[in-house]
């Protein structure tokens, strides 16, 4: 005899539970956090290098740099100075998950840090399924890619709070239509904020720095969900 057992739970509920624990901890520390996602080569590490150099000692940034292999990114970011950098080598996995982040966070002394940035593995598909407990997802799209990427990979654009269009100094050199890219992003996510910048020329970087500064200096959040988790 067959019986139906309703579950009604997300498949990745195990990851989501861990992510909720991370989120509660970050709220407790009043530490704003970002999960940076993009395709390989859209300029995550370069943007972060410039960002670390810009803020220097003014804002201590904790950075978790995910990569499939090598600690190259973490080394580059460490060289940029001023930040607490920890690598995660996934050894083949195409995304970071909450367990990996939780393990690394446990060993980090976040005292004095004003912002946590998690640089995800270069991939627009898989990271969208894994909540890392971050406050906001930031998706990068470079002008060397297709302006229809938000439609081709909607899941990540839908979940991101901010879209950063990178390599704006290359606009006009390819068929990338920046207005079209923005329109496509808003189609899947009407609330998404959008910035255009070039880490190389410096164009638009002030807007990015201001965005980060607003996040880092905002008053302690009163997130009712996170509070509920902490009470448990």
């Amino acid at each position: 005899m067959s019986e139906i057992i309703p579950i009604g739970e997300k498949v990745l509920s195990e990851n989501d539970r861990l992510a909720a624990e991370i989120r509660a901890r970050l709220v407790q520390l009043n530490l704003p956090s970002l999960n940076l996602v993009s395709s390989p080569g859209s300029g995550k590490t370069t943007l972060l290098e410039k960002t670390l150099a810009h803020f220097g000692g003014r804002l201590r940034i904790a950075l978790i740099a995910g990569d499939v292999q090598t600690e190259n990114d973490a080394r580059r970011l460490e060289a940029a100075g001023g930040a607490l950098v920890r690598p995660i080598i996934t050894g083949g996995s195409c995304h970071l998950d909450a367990r990996m982040v939780s393990r690394v966070l446990t060993g980090m002394d976040l005292t004095g840090c004003g912002l946590l940035i998690i640089e995800n593995v270069g991939n627009l598909v898989c990271p969208s399924s894994y909540d890392l407990g971050e406050e906001k997802k930031v998706v990068l799209l470079s002008t060397a890619e297709g302006d229809d990427k938000p439609l081709k990979y909607p899941a990540i654009f839908r979940r991101a709070a901010l879209l950063v269009i990178t390599k704006s100094d290359l606009l006009g050199l390819s068929d990338f239509d920046v207005e079209r890219a923005e329109r496509h992003a808003r189609m899947v996510n009407p609330e998404i904020e959008i910035l255009r910048l070039s880490s190389r020329s410096g164009e638009g970087m002030a807007g990015w720095y201001a965005w980060l500064e607003r996040l880092a200096t905002r008053p302690p959040a009163a997130d009712p969900n996170a509070k509920g988790i902490m009470r448990d």
Partner: protein
């Protein structure tokens, strides 16, 4: 690409349920999956088929209930459901569209056997 880890998480979840409820046999796992979930059913099926060999779920079938996207045209307010994303409203041709729903990816229910 990440369907192997998704399949592994799914199996852990179902095996835990099987143990907790002392289920003799799970014959089917029914998943609800939306086009915006970032999960490709074929890839998940492939990953699951590779992983279930030699486990207590070896005979357990995976069933997908695929849902559709609801798109709303911001100009003429036409609402329509599709599997694939549209760039223009099929009624008025406007490209000012808003997509709603389609993120779902959860285990709806298990079909279990008593004997």
């Amino acid at each position: 690409m990440h369907e192997i880890s998704v399949a592994a998480a799914l199996m852990r979840r179902v095996l835990a349920e099987k143990e907790a409820r002392k289920i003799v046999r799970v014959s089917r796992i029914v998943l609800q999956i939306g086009p915006m979930s970032g999960i490709m059913p074929e890839a998940l099926q492939f990953a699951y088929d590779s992983l279930r060999q030699g486990t207590l779920l070896e005979e357990t079938e995976l069933v997908f209930n695929s849902t559709e996207l609801t798109t709303c045209c911001c100009r003429c307010m036409h609402r329509f459901d599709t599997r694939l994303m549209h760039t223009h409203c099929p009624r008025c041709g406007s490209d000012k569209l808003e997509i709603m729903g389609g993120d779902d990816f959860f285990i709806q229910y298990l079909v279990t056997e008593k004997e």
